[in-house]
Every structure is written in structure tokens, then in C-alpha cells.
């Protein structure tokens, strides 16, 4: 490879990086603008309620079913490993802590990103491609305030509720498998769980995580939709980008938040 080609490739890499960083800056300005203009979404709350329906209620089935199955698998796998150490009575602890601290917010976030996030991006992108957003602008209605902000708040409100539902269904699933199916003592299951799961440390931290994930996923979803190239191909690519970027963001944020919340709490 000649020096010229190498230099050209490095230049392209640099350009790609700087355009990526620029994009993040643009997305941040967009978020700020949207937050400042969220008045409509809050004053005409029925707009936001409609979006809670589309993002939250329509995701219920997938969240509840997935939560149940994840909890059941945790019950099975957990029992397998714990009974080798004679600690099968701690199954409740294992299931509850895994769900409340990690799996609830993260898996619910990933499912939310792929179901609701992609739908939001597609909807906004399509409105852009069919000039509906321009038409709104022409009628002196700010499309960010009218279309984007309600979807953002709808997603942010839905996400923690979905994560809580996921964790609750998961615990129930673990109970079904552990107590009803395998035969772990019900009393030990619940009492050890209640002793080990702390309201503030575990449950509340899980709720904070789901709020952060909700903000991240919905922000990415509305931005990608608003910024999409206004063609069919552009919208489809924006939708894919939403799912990929949100998923990566959730996992990266999960690491950061876990490191902040769950380590170094011992005294």
C-alpha cells in the first residue's frame, strides 16, 4: 500500500469520526430544542397520552411474555447451579436480584428499542418523506413541538413502567418454575428474597436505570426519524440505525450505571 493510499484512508477515517462527533452534537442541540419546546406536549396532554399508548401499551404483550420466559429460564438455570452448592433455597434471591438490577431494565430496554423505538423512527421519517412535517411548518405549527416532543415524553414515561412489569413478571416466572415446578420451598423463596433485595439499593437503582435507558432510546428514535433522508430507503436505514444505536447505547450505559451504582457500596 502506497503512502498516498494510507494517508487517504486515514483521512477518511478522521472525516468519518469527526462527522460522527458532529452528529452527536447536532443530536444534542435537537434534544435541547425539543425539551425547551415541550410545552405543547405537556399542556395538551392528550397528545402525550396517545403516544404512551403507542409506545407503552402496544409493547405490553412482548414485555410481559418475555419477562415471564426470562424469569422461568432464570429459575431453571439458577436452580441447576445453586443446588450443587446446597443453596437452592436462595433461588428467589438469584432470580430477583438478576431481574431487578440488570435484566429488567436492560432486556426491557432492548425490546422497547426494537419495537417502539423503530416504530417511532419510521413514523417520523415517513412524515418527513411525505412532506407532512413541512406542511406543518407552513401552517406555522412547530413540528418538533407537535410531533416529536409528545413521542419523546410518551417513551420516557412508558419505559420505567415496562421495566417494572418485566421484572415483576420475571419474578413470577421464577416462582412458577422454582416453587411450583421444581419444588423449592415457597417460604424460603420469598423470605430470603425479601431479606436480600434492598428497596433503595436494588429496586430504586433499577428504576433509575430504566429511566436513563428510556431517555436514551427515545431520544435516538426521534432524532433518527427527524433526521432521516426523506426517501423510502432513507427511512428504512434510519429505522435500522435506531435499533442498533439504541441497543449499543443501552449496553454501554448499563455498564457505566452499574459501575456507579453497584460497586463500592460496602462500608
Amino acid at each position: 500500500m502506497s503512502l498516498a493510499t494510507l494517508r487517504a484512508r486515514i483521512e477518511r477515517l478522521g472525516a468519518a469520526m469527526s462527522s460522527y462527533v458532529w452528529r452527536i452534537g447536532y443530536a444534542s442541540r435537537f434534544l435541547f430544542y425539543m425539551l425547551v419546546h415541550s410545552g405543547t406536549a405537556l399542556k395538551r396532554f392528550h397528545l402525550t397520552i396517545a403516544e404512551i399508548y403507542f409506545a407503552g401499551v402496544l409493547s405490553l404483550i412482548i414485555i410481559l411474555v418475555s419477562g415471564l420466559f426470562v424469569g422461568m429460564v432464570l429459575g431453571l438455570q439458577g436452580y441447576e447451579t445453586l443446588q450443587r452448592f446446597g443453596a437452592s433455597e436462595s433461588l428467589g434471591v438469584l432470580v430477583a436480584l438478576s431481574l431487578v438490577r440488570e435484566l429488567g431494565p436492560v432486556v426491557a430496554g432492548l425490546l422497547f428499542a426494537s419495537r417502539a423505538g423503530s416504530a417511532i423512527t419510521a413514523e417520523i421519517g415517513l412524515m418527513k418523506a411525505t412532506e407532512q412535517l413541512s406542511a406543518m411548518e407552513m401552517m406555522a405549527v412547530d413540528p418538533v413541538a407537535r410531533v416529536v416532543a409528545p413521542r419523546f415524553w410518551g417513551g420516557v414515561i412508558s419505559m420505567p413502567l415496562l421495566a417494572a412489569l418485566f421484572s415483576a413478571m420475571g419474578v413470577f416466572g421464577g416462582y412458577l418454575v422454582g416453587v411450583q415446578l421444581i419444588g423449592v420451598d415457597a417460604g424460603a423463596f420469598w423470605s430470603q428474597m425479601q431479606a436480600a433485595v434492598d428497596l433503595r439499593n436494588d429496586i430504586l437503582n433499577g428504576v433509575y436505570k430504566s429511566i436513563v435507558f428510556g431517555i436514551a432510546v427515545t431520544w435516538i428514535a426521534v432524532f433518527e426519524g427527524y433526521d432521516a433522508v426523506p426517501t423510502a430507503e432513507g427511512v428504512s436505514r434510519a429505522t435500522t440505525r435506531t435499533v442498533v444505536t439504541s441497543s449499543l447505547a443501552i449496553l454501554a450505559l448499563d455498564f457505566v450505571l452499574t459501575a456507579l451504582m453497584f460497586t463500592g457500596t460496602e462500608k
Binding site: 407532512q132 413541512s134 406542511a135 407552513m138 401552517m139
Partner: protein, 269 residues
């Protein structure tokens, strides 16, 4: 004293990049009450000019004055105040797909009026009646044909009785009947509302039948202007080719290409 034109474009140039201007030294004046056509090939800059009139773009040089204001100097609130007196019909209607026909037409009234629902209901019916679609009020945009969708969009754009109505390629893809309907509506609404209309289009024959005045554009410049009769008999070769639909002329038939024999890989003679 003559009234100030509703739209005045003075010496406007525009380009997304400095090296490639899309519009060069445009001078335009649109009188109150007129129906004016801006015509030309695709890519001649007419849609960009419409965007400048709308206030969505600011000219890089020169001044665009609409309804008495210089669009480039308006802040967001001033821009929105100006747009409330304008209506725009987009190429394929741009109806809101998640609302019914009624709600689409009611949209600008609800967002700006503060009017009670009964008044809005009657106003919407009035506008739909004007375009002949009062019976379709409960339908959704996906259930409408192209022509009907465009008529609903037209009803929506006149919802607040605008002083200036802009049309972006209103005749594209319409069957002859819908065509006739739109042509009739453009003229009727303009006169009944006492408004001014600007039509950007490349459908020559039909447009020449409805407009009062024409500006002809090519490559970002106005190369001809006049009444429809003047344009039809224009000596300008490009206008001639365009109006008469000749396949070859100043705009060549062949896209620039290398020597034909070379492309066929024939041995040189």
C-alpha cells in the same frame, strides 16, 4: 398610489454552496389578486424560489419581501405570523395520515384559532364544500384517490382564508377530470377569497390556461416573462421548445456522450 406587490423578489441569488448558485439575479413582482405561474424544466430552481417565498430559505444575495416583510429578517415568531396568512399546497397533498379528512382541514383552525368546536365544524364543512368533498369528511387519507387527496389538501391550505396561496406542482399525476377540477378551483378560490396565487409547475398548456402572468425560468434565471399569449408566441428558443413540447432544441435530446462509434467498439473506419 399603486399598492405594494404581495411578493417582491429583488435581485435574489441563492446557492447551497457558494460555487454552485441555484438562483441568479431573480427579479419578480406579484400583484395582489393575480394568479402567477412560475414555470420551467425540473431543476431550474423554481421550487427553491418557492421555498424562499415561503421563508424556509434565506437568499444569499438580494431581498425577498412577502406580505410587506423581508423574509430573511423575520425571527421564528414573525415567520410563523407571516405564514398564518399564507397557504401552501404540497405536491402530493402531504395530508396527515393519522387523522381523518375533517381533522386535517380542522388542524390549522385548532392550532391557531381558539375557536369553539361548533364554529370549527361549520368552517371545515364550508371549506370542504368549496372543493366539493363535504361528503368525504369522515374518510381517512389512505382511502382517498390522488385527486381527492389534493383537493382536501387545498381545503386545508385555505382553512384560515390566506392572502397568498402557493402551489407546488399541483397538476402532477392527475387524471384529466381531476385536472379540470383543480384548475377550476385555483381560479375560483383565488377570486372568492380575494387572494393571490403562485403556481410552480411544468405543465405548460394547462397552466397557461389559468394564470394571468408567467415567469419562465431556466438554469436559475428568469429568461422570459409575460401574459400567457406573449409566452405562447415568444421568440425565445427555449421557451418555444418548452411550450410546444419539442423533443429537441436548446435542450438537446442526447445527454452528452462520447463518440458513438467508439462506444459500439467498432473498428475505426
Amino acid at each position: 398610489m399603486p399598492q405594494e406587490p404581495i411578493v417582491e423578489i429583488r435581485n435574489v441569488s441563492f446557492g447551497y454552496e457558494a460555487a454552485r448558485p441555484v438562483l441568479r439575479d431573480i427579479d419578480l413582482a406579484i400583484e395582489r389578486g393575480a394568479v402567477v405561474g412560475i414555470m420551467g424544466q425540473s431543476g431550474c430552481g423554481k421550487t427553491t424560489l418557492l421555498r424562499i417565498i415561503m421563508g424556509a430559505l434565506a437568499p444569499t444575495r438580494g431581498e425577498a419581501r412577502v406580505l410587506g416583510h423581508a423574509t430573511a429578517e423575520l425571527e421564528r415568531d414573525g415567520l410563523y405570523a407571516m405564514r398564518r396568512k399564507m397557504g401552501m399546497l404540497f405536491q402530493f397533498g402531504a395530508l396527515f395520515t393519522d387523522m381523518s379528512v375533517f381533522e386535517n382541514v380542522a388542524f390549522p383552525m385548532r392550532e391557531h384559532g381558539g375557536l369553539p368546536e361548533e364554529v370549527i365544524h361549520d368552517l371545515v364543512m364550508l371549506k370542504l364544500q368549496a372543493v366539493g368533498l363535504r361528503g368525504a369528511a369522515h374518510l381517512r387519507p389512505t382511502e382517498l384517490s390522488g385527486g381527492m387527496a389534493r383537493r382536501v389538501a387545498l381545503a386545508r391550505s385555505i382553512a384560515l382564508d390566506p392572502q397568498l396561496i402557493l402551489y407546488d406542482e399541483p397538476f402532477t399525476g392527475l387524471d384529466p377530470i381531476s385536472f379540470g377540477v383543480i384548475v377550476r378551483l385555483i381560479r375560483e378560490l383565488n377570486d372568492s377569497l380575494g387572494a393571490t396565487s403562485v403556481i410552480v409547475t411544468h405543465d405548460v398548456q394547462e397552466a397557461l390556461g389559468v394564470v394571468d402572468y408567467v415567469y419562465f425560468m431556466a438554469a436559475g434565471r428568469v429568461i422570459a416573462k409575460g401574459t400567457p399569449d406573449e409566452i405562447r408566441s415568444s421568440p425565445e428558443p427555449f421557451v418555444n421548445q418548452f411550450v410546444n413540447g419539442k423533443p429537441d432544441g436548446p435542450v438537446p435530446f442526447h445527454y452528452p456522450a462520447p463518440d458513438y462509434r467508439a462506444d459500439l467498439e467498432l473498428a475505426p473506419a
